[in-house]
Amino acid sequence: MKPRAIVVVIAALMVLAFGSAASAQSDCKTLVPASPWGPNDQTGATNRITPAVTKAAATEIKDGKVIAMAYPLADGIPLFGTRFTKTILTATTLAPGGALGENQLTYMEDTWLSQSHVGTHLDGMGHIGRKDCYYNQTPMGKFITQNAMTKLGLEHLKPFATRGVIVDMVKVYQQANKLKSNPACKKPCLDKGTVITAADIQAGLKMYNVTLREGDIVIIHTGWGDLFEQYPAQNATYNSGEPGIGKDAATWLISQKIVAVGNDTWGVEVIPGESPKEAFIVHNMLLTDNGIHIIENVRTDLIAAEAAATGRATFFFNMTVPKAVGLTGNFVGIEAIR
């Protein structure tokens, strides 16, 4: 090939390469809204947790009562698809002669093999996209390695120190005389496929006279978590579908400028979904389009019972999210403090 021809071919290839990159960027601007916190934002809705929000949430702590909101993380809990857990205990120093030094020190530690989205866990913004476009118009194809993301990882999130609000959907449905429980639930539960609407959530808030504030985290008790608690007996039923929020509820929650929404199901949104041709559309609405986190497999029965007993549905939401660089999500510990 002549040098001029080589130059022409290289130029053409460069035009193609840069052209396709440019079109990927413009696709994301079409497919995903820009973040209200600017083009460099990787923090999403946790931007709403300002010192003032945390301080106001702290007033929820009246007597120091702590209520667990996470399920046990153990082999045998319901896991989705081909997810797995495997723990291996290293205890070699317990063997005769294995102790160390004159002080006979022994130690143990664990090898924990699993995926990040197991048990009570947080969906980060790198979890769900539309095509290759993620939160804040991020063309994610440019920001992944074989091991992790280089953008939108959990390390960018602010601490989730804010007010939590429990919405007892079981009570809402009972009061409306429309609860159709699943026979596998030992306690009342909404059945899989039940679409929770904005009106349902508003009824749940009204029940405890709560008005949502910017920066709140909304936790919905559906009762479906009763099947999680029965693990492993009801794992298949638990994973076969779920009650959850529909598009109407998601739209309303977004308008309330919350930070996260969670419930006692594996996917928070209703499954089977409202349209059989849409895949996890509420995840797209919350995470991809608005940076609002989703918290799955939240233990809600204890805080729902506490709210029923005290007539108060708000609490200080305490959740630990590791600064896991480049991860799309992780299991979390959550407590309601009152």
Binding site: F80, G81, T82, V195, I271, P272, P276, K277, A279, F280
Partner: protein
Amino acid sequence: MKDRAPASSLRGRRRPRVWPVAAGLVALLVVAAGLWPAGAQRRYVVAFANLTEEPGVTVEGTGFTGREIRESFMLAARAHPVEMVYYDNQRDDARALQNADAAIARKVDLYIQYHQGAANAAIAQKLKAAGIPILALNYPVPGAPLYTLDNLAAGHVAGEALAQFALRSWRGQPTAAAVVGNLSAAADRVPERARGVTEALAQRLPAVRVTALDTRGNPAQVGPLLGKFLGAHPTGKLLLAATDDTTALAVKSTVESAGRVHDAAIVSHGVDRTIHGGMNERKEIDPANRGSIVIGSVAFFLDRCGYEILPLAMRMLRGESLPARVTSRLVLVTAANVFLEYPPYDMN
């Protein structure tokens, strides 16, 4: 003059008679509007009388059961102001008549009838007399609009897909074709599928002869029947249309056993869960299996028919008239679009 009040006084007396009444009416309207829930609309009672609920029994020459069809109504009903009432016709005229009577007693607003039998005429009369409109599913009911699978058109889609594949990949090579399945199942209108395939192939590949291989509903017969066909065509290419997905998988297995994978292309009908699945099920039609000799399967979305039929029912309940015949959507589902048409929810 004494009993005659001044004009101003008369006006003053008349005012209490008219304005308070009007103001009261307005107030009543305001109160009523406040009490009436925003966006509240009438809820209808819609009956669906299913062909059969017998566990494991498939319908319409597909892999779908009556239960899956009923469940599609249950899911679709979430988006409509309806309360669904379900009946099981048990493929029995007497039971179908009893169900219609029960629905009349229940005063349902609309009756969706899925039944094949002589009783449909009597049921139409009963429901008409009770003022209950009927929407028929798959089998005609006199005077009722019909929503139905279009088996002939589905066959055309399958035949066209096979023809396009042959023209694209095997142009000029000797090619034979076969339609395999329960070809004598006239009640399920499987012969219409076979006719559609044959017509499409004849139109696009007039030189290709199409052989009918009737399994009589026994997939175990695919091996012997197709084995003979393969033996009769030891060389050349093979276009194979299966009338259902279970048959398609048996066809593929037979072709593999005969060592003819590189000579064959298969298209099926139905798109049931034997041939497609979720992210982790790795079924035949799967994005990770684009090299399969099963090119695709023609979906008529029987498992989602509730989503198609309830909007039609709502139109009837609003007083709109429907065309006499509405047919199901048809899509050739392949490895390239299976997750678009059937989004899985078992992803990791």
